[in-house]
Amino acid sequence: METFLQVVANGLMLGGLFAIISIGLTLIFGIIKVVNFAHGEFLMAGMFLTYLITTKLGLHPYASVVVVAPALFVLGALTQRLLIQPLLSARDDHVQIFATVGLSTAMINLALLLYGADIANTPTSGLRTPVDIGPVRVLEGQIYIFLCAALLVVGLELFLHRTQTGRAIRAVAQNRAAAQLMGINANWIYVLSFGIGAACVGLASSLIAPLYPTSSTIGTYFVLTAFVVVVLGGLGSIPGAFVGAMLIGLIDALAGFYIGSDLREAVVFGVFLIILILRPSGLFGTRVKLSHIS
């Protein structure tokens, strides 16, 4: 029984990790309807930035978030303004997807050029210390990741539903032309939303960097799971991403322990496929409306 609880705890902690890296992706998709294939590289950039700030300035990795999150906000806002927005009028929506794939490749190679292929280890600052919670034992840093993911979901939902800007973001997501007729600057809302989504990745970077080694290709390691989580939760749904992340985390941990660690991914993707066959729009998905269909 204790082993089972420990495996469940590991699954939830893994879920927290998956959630924190997926929230920005689903936010951007839900509003702008652009799949950001450079999402993983945003994470990589944030982790490198955390590494640099922590090692060069001797700060706690969590303190670096005050620089990393705004920096990622700017990166995201610029990506929308300079890369996606000029392509919005393109006849084929796929052009935007290719543009973010291009950005991803460019960022990986830029990282290789600037840092090389080595691994950058951010100081752990005690965040790898095991903590006992009742019968289970998890890492201190994992608990913070889990809590931050949960708070971020609640915070973003409150922002989107209770503030005038948040409502304007939802209005643009639901009907761009009608939102413009209300006097909402839709292009600005897109820039803001991409920035917020990227800033969420920035927060994730500073939380993850002390626990995982940073490298130029770390983004590709995380991003596939982020896509699975986002699709499973229902594209664009923030609470859906959280639930999807917990589900994937639990399946990953349980399958890894009871079936075999080699088969973890096979089980995760098998369950993912079954859920998609049963609920094609994901757990919390409503109508997924892509602009080239409507």
Binding site: R170, A171, Q174, N175, Q180, L181, G183, N185, T286
Partner: protein, 234 residues
């Protein structure tokens, strides 16, 4: 108040409007009559700034608004109630109305405007906390009109407000528009019920294949042979 001079506009390479010229004076109710595809909606969307004309000029209260983005045109006091209602489906009715009052000039008076709009559409009050998508077509149209009024526009443009509604609901929508007109609003309306609309309007324009072919007082248009044959079926 509003004037369009020699406007060409369309979607991509397709030109729909050819040298459209029309004007609306303060306090007037003006209607554009025309067949499907004549360019009525395109005209309204061009005024609202959703489509940019390839040539010609749009001015509002003496200011050239031809190249202004749609959201800035709303700030100046022009509101389009679009065809097909275009509500925010996953927002409540209250939130839809709040979005209507998004522009700076309207936000401060949001609560008074909402009270006023509720008097006009009492049915909406009971629906305030429901999602817009759960409303009937007629209720959605009421919300769309109410949302447009939340901006406190100087010029209100209606695009096919009765489209797809049951006859009894159409009557309610026209009654509401009648009240808005009676209160002195300046209105530019495109509507398939040509007879009813001309009855309520001061002046009208007849739009055919993207060009204005006839303009006169509503009264004169109602007795015009071409209008009677082509649009009134008399």
């Amino acid at each position: 108040m509003l004037s369009i001079e020699g406007v060409d506009a369309g979607y991509g390479a397709t030109t729909i409007l050819n040298g459209v010229t029309l004007d609306v004076q303060a306090g007037e109710v003006v209607t554009i009559v025309g067949a499907n595809g004549a360019g009525k909606t395109t005209t309204l969307r061009t005024i609202a700034g959703l489509i940019k004309p390839t040539s010609g000029r749009v001015t509002f209260e003496g200011q050239d608004i031809t190249s202004l983005p749609a959201h800035e045109i709303v700030d100046l006091g022009i509101t389009l109630i679009p065809e097909g209602r275009q509500l925010f489906p996953d927002m409540t009715v209250r939130e839809n109305l709040m979005m209507g009052a998004y522009r700076r000039g309207a936000r401060a008076q949001q609560h008074e405007t909402m009270d006023h709009v509720m008097e006009l559409f009492p049915r909406i009050r009971e629906r305030l906390d429901q999602h817009a998508s759960s409303l009937s077509g007629g209720e959605q149209q009421m919300v769309a009109i109410a949302r447009g009024m939340m901006a406190r526009p100087k010029l209100l443009m209606f695009d096919e407000p009765s489209l797809g509604l049951a006859p009894i609901v159409v009557a309610q929508v026209f009654e509401a528009i009648g009240k808005i007109v009676a209160a002195g609003a300046t209105v530019l309306i495109v509507e398939q019920n040509v007879f009813t609309t001309l009855k309520a309007a001061d002046r009208g324009y007849v739009l055919e294949n993207g060009s204005i072919v006839l303009t006169d007082t509503a009264e004169a248009l109602l007795s015009d042979d071409h209008v009677r044959q082509a649009y009134l079926g008399i």
